[in-house]
Symmetry: C2
Subunit: 428 residues, 2 copies
C-alpha cells in the first residue's frame, strides 16, 4: 500500500528527493492573499464583515463574542468533555510552567555585571482554525504559554460557524484561559486584522497558530510587510515512525493513520528495520483504514506517503534526521538509546505506548511544531515563543578600569572614535 524504498539503494540525491516536501509555493494563492490583506488594511471592520459573508456564509453585526456569550456556549458541552479539556489544560500548564527560569547575573570582570531578564511580548494574536475541523486543543496550546509568559493582551481570532458563533469546546477553553472576548474572523483576513489592527481588532506584536494555506501565506507575507513577527512558517502536518522487530504493527498503522486523517497533503512516513514489518503494517493499514470515517482523506494522504527499509535503528535514525520530522515516534524497545541520536525533530514520542495523539492533546507538550523540514532550525511553540530576553549590564568604577582600555583598543581598530571616546571621557 505504501510505496517502499530500501535505504541501501538510496544515494544522497534520492534521499534529498524523498525528504523534500512542500517546496513549490503556490503563487496564485499569494495574489489573492495580498488582495485580502489590502482590503483589510484599507477598510477594516467593513472588509472583515464582507469576508465573513463571502467565506463563512454568515452575516455578522458585531465581530466578536463577549464574556456572557462565551460563558453560555461553554456551558453547552458535556461534563465529561469539560473534564477532558481541564485535564489537558492542567498537563499543558504543568509542563510549560517549567520552561522559563530566572537566570543568574554573571560578573564577566570585577565590576562588570551582565544578566538577562524575561519580558512578555505585550500583545499576541492567536489564530484558532475552525471550518471543517474545530481545534480547541490549539487554543490551549497557544493560550497557556501566553498566560504563563504574562502577555498583557491576548487576541483570539477564529472563524464563525454558520450560526455566527463559535463552537462550545473553543468557548470552554477560552473560559479556562480567562479570555473574555473572541473575534469571529478566519482565514488570511484574521491575520491581516491582527497585523494592522481594525476598529474592533487590536494590532498585535506577534501572531501564532496553524491554519490552511491562505492563513500560512498571510503570516509569511505580513512578516515582511510589518513589524509583526510570527511563531513559525507552517506547512501540512507529518509524522515519521521508526519501528523495529519489537513493534506492534497494529499500533504503527494506527499512528500512521492518525496522521493521514489530517488532510490529503499530510505525510506519514514509516522507517522500519525489515521488509516483513512493512508488510505487516501495510496489512494493518488496510483493515484499519476500511473502518475509518475519514477514510477517503486518509487514503489520499497515504498515496503521498512511503516506507523506507533500513538495515538497523541507526540507519533508520539517519533517515529521520535527514527528514527532520514534525512528529517522530520511535516504536522500539531500544528507545532510550535513541534519544541522544535525535538531531532534528519537533516532538518525539518514545516507546510502544506513546502515541502522537497523546501529545496532540494532553500529555503536556506543545502540538504547534515545525513542519516541512523547519525542525532543522526551528523549535516548537513554548513559553519561550511568548517572551523576549533583554540583556542588562552595569559597570562600576572598578569595572570601567578593568574593561576600559580593551574597549578603547577595539573601537580604535574598527575606526569608531566616538565609541572610544564614550569610554575615555568617563575615565577622566
Amino acid at each position: 500500500m505504501l510505496k517502499t524504498y530500501a535505504y541501501q539503494d538510496l544515494d544522497a540525491q534520492a534521499i534529498q528527493a524523498l525528504v523534500n516536501r512542500n517546496t513549490d509555493p503556490n503563487h496564485a494563492i499569494q495574489d489573492s492573499v495580498l488582495q485580502i490583506i489590502e482590503e483589510v488594511k484599507q477598510h477594516g471592520d467593513v472588509a472583515l464583515k464582507s469576508f465573513a459573508q463571502k467565506f463563512d456564509k454568515v452575516e455578522l453585526e458585531q465581530l466578536y463574542l463577549d464574556a456572557a456569550e462565551i460563558e453560555a456556549l461553554a456551558n453547552s458541552i458535556s461534563r465529561d468533555q469539560m473534564r477532558a479539556l481541564e485535564i489537558a489544560f492542567q498537563n499543558i500548564y504543568k509542563f510549560h510552567q517549567t520552561q522559563v527560569r530566572r537566570e543568574r547575573t554573571v560578573e564577566t570582570m570585577p565590576g562588570v555585571s551582565c544578566w538577562r531578564e524575561l519580558r512578555p511580548i505585550e500583545k499576541v494574536g492567536l489564530y484558532i482554525p475552525g471550518g471543517s475541523a474545530v481545534l480547541p486543543s490549539t487554543l490551549l496550546m497557544l493560550g497557556i504559554p501566553a498566560r504563563i509568559a504574562g502577555c498583557r493582551e491576548i487576541v483570539v481570532c477564529s472563524p464563525p460557524q454558520n450560526n455566527g458563533k463559535i463552537n462550545g469546546f473553543v468557548a470552554y477553553c477560552l473560559k479556562l484561559l480567562r479570555i473574555d472576548k473572541v473575534y469571529l474572523v478566519g482565514g488570511a483576513q484574521a491575520v491581516a486584522a491582527m497585523a494592522f489592527g481594525t476598529e474592533s481588532i487590536p494590532k498585535v506584536n506577534k501572531i501564532f497558530g496553524p491554519g490552511n494555506q491562505f492563513v500560512t501565506k498571510a503570516k509569511s507575507l505580513i512578516q515582511g510587510m510589518t513589524d509583526v513577527s510570527i511563531d513559525m512558517p507552517a506547512g501540512p502536518s507529518e509524522v515519521l515512525v521508526i519501528a523495529d522487530e519489537s513493534c506492534t504493527p497494529a499500533y504503527v498503522a494506527a499512528d500512521l493513520l492518525a496522521q493521514a486523517e489530517h488532510g490529503i497533503d499530510s505525510q506519514a512516513v514509516l522507517v522500519c528495520t525489515s521488509a516483513s514489518i512493512a508488510a505487516e503494517v501495510n496489512k494493518e493499514l488496510e483493515s484499519q483504514l476500511a473502518i475509518l470515517p475519514r477514510k477517503e482523506l486518509a487514503a489520499k494522504a497515504l498515496k503521498n506517503s512511503y516506507t523506507v527499509i533500513a538495515k538497523d535503528l541507526q540507519e533508520a535514525m539517519d533517515f529521520s534526521n535527514a527528514y527532520a520530522p514534525e512528529h517522530l515516534i520511535i516504536e522500539s524497545d531500544q528507545w532510550k538509546a535513541m534519544v541522544n541520536k535525535v538531531q532534528h525533530a519537533g516532538s518525539v514520542f518514545l516507546g510502544h505506548l506513546t502515541p502522537e495523539s497523546a501529545g496532540d492533546y494532553a500529555s503536556g507538550t506543545n502540538h504547534t511544531l515545525p513542519t516541512s523540514g523547519y525542525a532543522r532550525s526551528y523549535s516548537g511553540v513554548s513559553v519561550d515563543s511568548f517572551v523576549k530576553k533583554i540583556t542588562f549590564q552595569h559597570i562600576t568604577e572598578q569595572g570601567l578600569e578593568q574593561i576600559g582600555s580593551t574597549v578603547e583598543i577595539l573601537a580604535e581598530l574598527e575606526g569608531l572614535h566616538a565609541h572610544k571616546n564614550a569610554v575615555t571621557i568617563r575615565k577622566k
Copy 2:
C-alpha cells in the same frame, strides 16, 4: 541642535509618529537583490567571482582563505590588539556560556513524562560585514554562541578587501574561534550563497549577521523562498538615552555621538527630565562633534534624531517603551528602580559608567540586537539562537491508563477518529 519635543504636548498619534522608523522599504533594492539571488542560484561560484569583480573590485581565483592564510593574517596585528580581542572573547564566552541549561523532566501525570532537550542547529552561516567598517567584534558575537551551542558547521562569509584577503583582526577572531576557513563573499550574494549553496560554499540552515540594506533585504527574501531561517530582521542601529538631573551631560553627548557615527540612517534619541539637561547635552554635542573624525556622518545622523523632555523618569520610560530601542542607556542614579520598568529593549546599559560601547565590544553581552521596534517581539542573538529545543515524551502502561480516556474524548470532539484509535488500540 537636536529637535526637541515636550512629552506633555505629544498625543498618542504624535508619539506613534516619533517612534516609527524605517517603515518604507525600498522596492528598487528588492529588484536588484532578487536578481543577485537568481544569479547565485543559477551560476554558483562563477556568479560570486563576477560579483567580487564588480562590487569588491578584486579578481578572486579561489573563493576562500584556508587555515594557513588566516594564520598569517592573524599574526599581522599587534600584541595589544590580540590581547584586547582575547579579553572580549573571554567575557563574551563567559556570559553566553550560562545561557543554556539542561531542563528537568516533568511528570505531568503518573507515568507520563515530558522534557525538552537542546540540539544545535547543524549548519549556520555568519555574515561579517566588511567594506568601510571592518567588524571583528561581530564575528565574536556570532561565532562564540555558535561554538557554545555546538553547531557542527560554521560558515563565515565576509567581503574581500582590495588585496583579495580579509583584515587581520577578523583573521585573529577566526583563529580564536578555531574556524579554519573564511569565504570571500559579501553583500546579498553571500546570503544567497549560504541559502542555496554553491560549488565552494555549503548551504546552511540559518543565517546570522548584520549588513547593509542589500544584505538585510536578501535575508528577508530568502526566508520566504527557502527552508533557511534568519536571526532577525535588521535595520539601522539606534540608541535611546534616558538622562535625569544626576547625569553628566558630556557622557550623554558622547553616547549619542557613538551611535550617530555608525551611519547617516542611525538614530540617537535623548529623553531627559528637564529642558536644561537637553541644553547642556546639546552644547556638549557641538564641541565633541567638532573633533570627531566621522563628524559629517554623525552630524547627518543627528539631523535624523531628536530629544523628548519628560516630566520624570516614569514618563521617560513610557516613551522608551513606546520606542522599543535597540540600545537603552539609563544615565540616572535611580537606575536600579528602572530595571523592572524596562518592557521593550534589546540591551540596556545602567548608570553613569556603563557606555553602550562597552557592550558593543567587551562586557560580555551580545551586540546583535533587534532594531526598528522589533525589540517588541524579538530578543537579541544568544546561544538560544543557535539551538532548537525538541520535546520528548514517554508514557508507561500506568500513564496510558491515566491519560487514555482524556485523549479519546478530545479526539472524538475534534472529529479525529484515527487519533482516538491510536489510544484505544493500545488499551486493549
